[in-house]
């Protein structure tokens, strides 16, 4: 058990009851899938070419989306946490809007911005011959659009907790701002960075609406696992169940694995500040 579950912390009965209902709420759909799964033909569905292609595409795209979220999201979080400027609240709202927006709306908006006739997309196409919609790169763009805010808000919170004293110490030792950022700030916020990246990755992996609107549903190019599950549900419900379980198994394994490794030691950004 974790430290919090020790003696003397027995929660009140109503809390236990309501929490149990919440757990059941999350567990029951999973059990439902397991119950209806066609186990005898499971291997055939999993090793099916369409399934494997969709799985590989999901992995590649979600990891790319995570990487892009980190590369652009960390600097954005740093600016939002540390720099005071007019309209900061508006910028933060804008950058986290896609968390509350229906993903389909996001996909449509991306289309008008980055599509072949879009605001920016037409230049991308005319000048560089780059076309994002209906390509694998488009999937990555759609996933990054919905996933990055999760990283930004997690990292921004950690940067706020870090009050800048460790960085001040670094500066007095002769470290430039950039050296300080790499060698002091980043290690101090590493737990939050990993948590944010995992959240972003999970969001990217499950992304459906923005992907199907912006990138379409082409097997091998843009058909990720969630799309494959959705399509299979129409044509072959048994396969849909197996694919869904596969997706769940992978996500579950990653979340559990990372949790033990990164979050289980009680290390928080705050601990990292004070030696």
């Amino acid at each position: 058990m974790s430290r919090a579950g020790g003696r003397g912390t027995r929660p009140p009965a109503p809390v236990i009851a309501l929490a149990a209902i919440a757990v059941a709420f999350f567990a029951l759909p999973l059990i439902g899938l397991l119950w209806r799964a066609p186990w005898s033909s499971a291997w055939r569905y999993v090793s099916d070419r369409t399934a494997l292609t969709a799985l590989r595409l999901s992995m590649v795209c979600s990891l790319w989306a995570t990487a892009l979220s980190v590369v652009f999201g960390v600097p954005l979080a740093w600016i939002l946490a540390r720099v005071q400027f007019a309209g900061r609240g508006a910028v933060r709202a804008l950058c986290t809007l896609s968390m509350v927006l229906p993903p389909v709306v996001g996909g449509v908006a991306l289309f008008y911005a980055l599509g072949r006739r879009g605001l920016v997309g037409q230049w991308l196409y005319d000048w560089f011959g780059v076309q994002l919609p209906f390509t694998t790169a488009g999937v990555v763009v759609a996933q990054t659009f919905v996933a990055m805010p999760f990283l930004v808000i997690t990292v921004e919170a950690a940067l706020r907790q870090l009050d800048g004293r460790a960085e001040a110490a670094s500066r007095t030792l002769g470290a430039s701002r950039w050296y300080t950022f790499r060698r002091v700030t980043l290690p101090a916020i590493r737990p939050a960075l990993v948590a944010g990246a995992v959240l972003a990755w999970a969001r990217a992996l499950g992304e459906f609406g923005a992907t199907i609107t912006f990138a379409g549903n082409f097997p091998g190019t843009t058909q990720t696992m969630p799309l494959a599950v959705y399509i299979a549900r129409e044509t072959n419900p048994e396969q849909a169940i197996i694919l869904a379980l596969l997706l769940i198994a992978i996500s579950f394994a990653v979340l559990v694995g990372l949790r033990d490794r990164w979050f289980g030691r009680g290390s928080s950004p705050h601990d990292a500040v004070l030696a």
Binding site: R165, A168, A169, T172, L173, G174, A175, Y179, R183, A275
Partner: protein
Amino acid sequence: MSLSAALQLRLGTLDLRAEFGVQPGELLALLGPNGAGKSTLLRCLAGLQPIESGRIAIDDVSVDEPASATFVEPERRSVGYVFQEYLLFPHMTVLENVAFGLRARGRPKREARDAAHRWLEQVGLTEYVGQKPQALSGGQAQRVALARALATEPRVLLLDEPLAALDAGTRATVRRDLRQHLATFDGIRVMVTHDPVDAYALADRVAIIDEGRIVQTGTLSEVTSRPRSRYVADLVGVNLVAGNVTDGVLRTDGGAQVVIADAAPGPAFAVIRPHSISLVRHLAEGASARNQWSGVVTELDRLGDRVRVGIDGAMPLTAEITAAALDALQLQPGDPIHTSVKATDIEVYPA
């Protein structure tokens, strides 16, 4: 070859105006109560807080001078800083912490580590090189922080309350060690402290800071023998009265009059020592002491067979009487009381 600062800065409720200089080899202690602006002053010297006007110069080279738009970034000033909480980097080993400054300046890893090792040897912590800072005691962390700051061979060493984070039991030992290690550094040293014992043990000279102003500088004995601030007077345990002298009488800002033996006219401080104050419950006819004030007992503080009596009134004072005298007077907080002091027992000096 020195450090000079004349600066002005507003920060929240703090209005900082200070001017001072420090010579190489000298250790100046900035002594004052919490919130006086001491740490902010140190941050200004390090470049962690830009000043609004004035000039800070190290070896006659401006590092912060708003008038000429000069501001040298902290990493480009030759300033080492030992923070109050030491702020060792928790994700690095002790050796990496000490090597950090040299690595940040682009020295090769090997060279930086060798130098860090030598510094850790000097502060007697070689057996901790591979440990994380969390494994260190407070005193050890302080020595690592000192080694880390000195490893970059700065011209100026700043120490912010270097002993405040330690518990009382270890403070004396660590203070002695710190004194020893500081002696090996012949640059300019500025230390911030609220503890006069630190200043006494470590500093060559003190500057008393109160409410953003340097109110007095000198050696600690000079400063304490002639207090010029309530803070120092409280420190030494005497009553300090500020006022204006005319015709042998000092009139306080509170409206009380103090008859004094002799002093030049003008603004002055008067020091009244607690044991020179007499207390009576009822005024006797034709009393000889000319300085008599009425007040109310606010607190009684027993220290062995002595009792300090706090008195409020037009002339707020702290008196010190024997326990036997207290018993005879039967004083309780809230009781009215009369105080008197002989003019010859009052020390007066120009403000």
